[in-house]
């Protein structure tokens, strides 16, 4: 059990000083996701304008991994096009589900590469993915409501 590979400095930094935390206006969709096994929760809002992720704001309750992951995610996604953001989401998902066998791409994931170690702890993968899943859900909702 290599604790330090899980709790990288980058993760602990984001945990102690989360970026883009808090819920903000305007937003097109808000979701509330829960990890039923441990109770971690996140409320997350997305503001999408045209094709662009204008803002992602959140209120998260949970462990260092889940909180740091939300913080890193907002850094990565805000300002990107929805398509690019979805691509980054996919890359992060593959890293997390790779059981520690996937080499992270720093150009795409930036601080997110710190989560490579999490992929070796199956029980913690869900923590790292909580806010990412919430973001995808919220974004799909906002796109659906836009098209309808």
């Amino acid at each position: 059990m290599d604790l330090d590979s899980l709790y990288q400095e980058i993760i602990l930094d984001h945990y102690k000083h989360p970026h883009h935390a808090g819920l903000r206006d305007p937003f097109e969709a808000e979701v509330h996701h829960v990890n039923p096994t441990c109770g971690d929760e996140v409320t997350l809002r997305v503001h999408v304008a045209g094709d662009k992720v204008e803002d992602v704001s959140y209120d998260a309750l949970g462990c260092s991994i889940s909180q740091a992951s939300a913080s890193v995610m907002t850094d990565l996604l805000i300002g990107k096009s929805v398509e690019e953001a979805m691509q980054i989401h996919q890359t992060f998902l593959e890293l997390m589900q790779g059981k520690g066998q996937v080499e992270p791409d720093e150009d795409v994931l930036e601080d997110g590469i710190a989560f490579a170690g999490v992929a070796k702890f199956p029980a913690r993968v869900k923590c790292a993915l909580l806010s990412w899943m919430a973001w995808k859900d919220a974004t799909s909702q906002s796109l659906r409501s836009e098209n309808s």
Binding site: M1, V34, P36, C38, P122, A123
Partner: protein, 418 residues
């Protein structure tokens, strides 16, 4: 004999109980596999290894044992999904046995709303050859909801009488629930054909594969079922575990079954929200060791191959049908050709009661079942109150069938039947 498993003697060595000596020094001749199957060493060892080295509760536990246990449990779900060719592992729900699985369907339908709700004027269709576990839940449901229970009758040779299918399956039909293979008559039913008729009127189809899963390759989608169930202890797995597979859309429209740990998303005192499938239907600590044992069991069967097992069963069944026909006074209940039936053969022997037959056979080490085999209506249909049933499995040898036939002749002479 054609069709027998080539490595039969090796396979028998996998089953420790087959070395058992019974009273009087008789070796065990186990012909009661439709009741419960015996267990190969690998299933027992897998369970023991888990108990001795990895035991912990699942999902909830974050520690190493917890991860090992969760992984083993969820890997069992993957194996079962592969065994029945489920389109998604999330559609595989672990239950206590087939009975609980069938009751889960009937019970959740009792509280279902919209499309799936059942009430006055609605009909549930079953068949006269069902096991009690696929009759009583539907009696309870239809009684309680004011709906009507109807059923397919049987032909003289023990098949479903489909002549009135247009009267039975109508726009009033909400559920058609039937067995794939009869545990009493051995009959293999045309489930896909009936499912197509049921779907044409918008009914959902529940298939009881308790006797099919041990013997036939199963493809849930090809079967036409919306829900298919089977029980672990008949597929060389342990007791305490069964499987319910359901199409995602159906499972998602049903309300939860039991409330409790693991099936929730969040709980407040005033109300709760529920997890997605499969967890929605798996409240409480599941049968962890049992699921893991079942995983090893279906792996074992897959390794031998269900096609090969089916061929073996047909060869042994054909040989048994011939052998039984050679005993004076034997009357077989159910189809007479091995090709259209499973490996359970129920029969009467003139002037000897099934209990007395079973008793004499037992005194010679031969285990069969005597009684109604939880299929009273099918017995009533053929005017018999009880029958004797022999049921073979992948470890059964032709020599065991010979022992049965010889002992039936002995039974006749013991009771001085002329």
């Amino acid at each position: 004999m054609e069709g027998l498993l080539p490595e039969l003697e090796v396979i028998r060595k996998d089953f420790p109980i087959l070395e058992r000596q019974l009273a009087g020094g008789f070796p065990l001749v186990y012909l009661d596999s439709a009741n419960t199957s015996q267990k190969p060493q690998v299933v027992i060892d897998t369970m023991v290894d888990h108990l001795e080295r990895h035991n912990a509760n699942i999902s909830r536990a974050m520690h190493q044992l917890g991860s090992e246990s969760t992984e083993a449990f969820e890997a069992a779900r993957d194996r079962v999904a592969a065994f029945i060719k489920a389109p998604s592992r999330d559609e595989v729900i672990f239950t206590k046995n087939a009975t609980e699985a069938l009751n889960m369907v009937a019970n959740t339908l009792a509280w279902a709303t919209a499309e799936l709700s059942i009430g006055e004027g609605d009909e549930v269709v079953i068949t006269e050859m069902e096991h009690h576990s696929n009759i009583v839940p539907w009696q309870l449901l239809t009684e309680r909801k004011g709906a009507t229970l109807r059923w397919f009758g049987l032909t003289e040779d023990g098949r479903l009488d489909l002549s009135n299918i247009d009267e039975l399956i109508t726009e009033r039909t909400k559920v058609v629930s039937l067995t794939w293979v009869s545990n009493m008559l051995g009959t293999i039913n045309p489930v896909a054909e009936i499912a197509a008729r049921a779907h044409a009127v918008g009914a959902i189809v529940v298939v009881d594969a308790s006797q099919a899963a041990p013997q036939l390759p199963i493809d849930v989608v090809a079967s036409g079922a919306d829900i298919l169930v089977f029980t672990g202890h008949k597929v060389v797995g342990p007791t305490g575990i069964g499987v319910l597979w359901g199409r995602r859309e159906v499972l998602e429209s049903l309300p939860p079954f039991h409330g409790g740990g693991e099936m929730i998303e969040t709980v407040k005192m005033a109300r709760s929200t529920y997890a997605g499938i499969p967890h929605k239907f798996e409240a409480g600590t599941p049968p962890i060791i049992e699921a893991i044992g079942l995983g090893a069991a279906v792996d074992y069967l897959d390794h031998i191959g269900l096609d090969a097992i089916h061929a073996h069963e047909q060869a042994v069944t054909g040989y048994a049908l011939e052998g039984l026909a050679s005993v004076p006074g034997v009357r077989i209940l159910g189809p007479l050709d091995a090709a259209s039936r499973g490996g359970a053969i129920s029969f009467e022997l003139a002037d000897v009661h099934p209990h007395d037959i079973a008793q004499v056979l037992d005194s010679r080490g031969i285990a069969v079942r005597a009684g109604h085999h939880c299929a009273k209506p099918a017995h009533a249909r053929f005017g018999v109150q009880a029958s004797t049933r022999m049921s073979s499995y992948l470890y059964t040898t032709p020599a065991e069938i010979d022992a049965l036939v010889e002992s039936l002749n002995y039974t006749r002479s013991y009771f001085k039947v002329s």
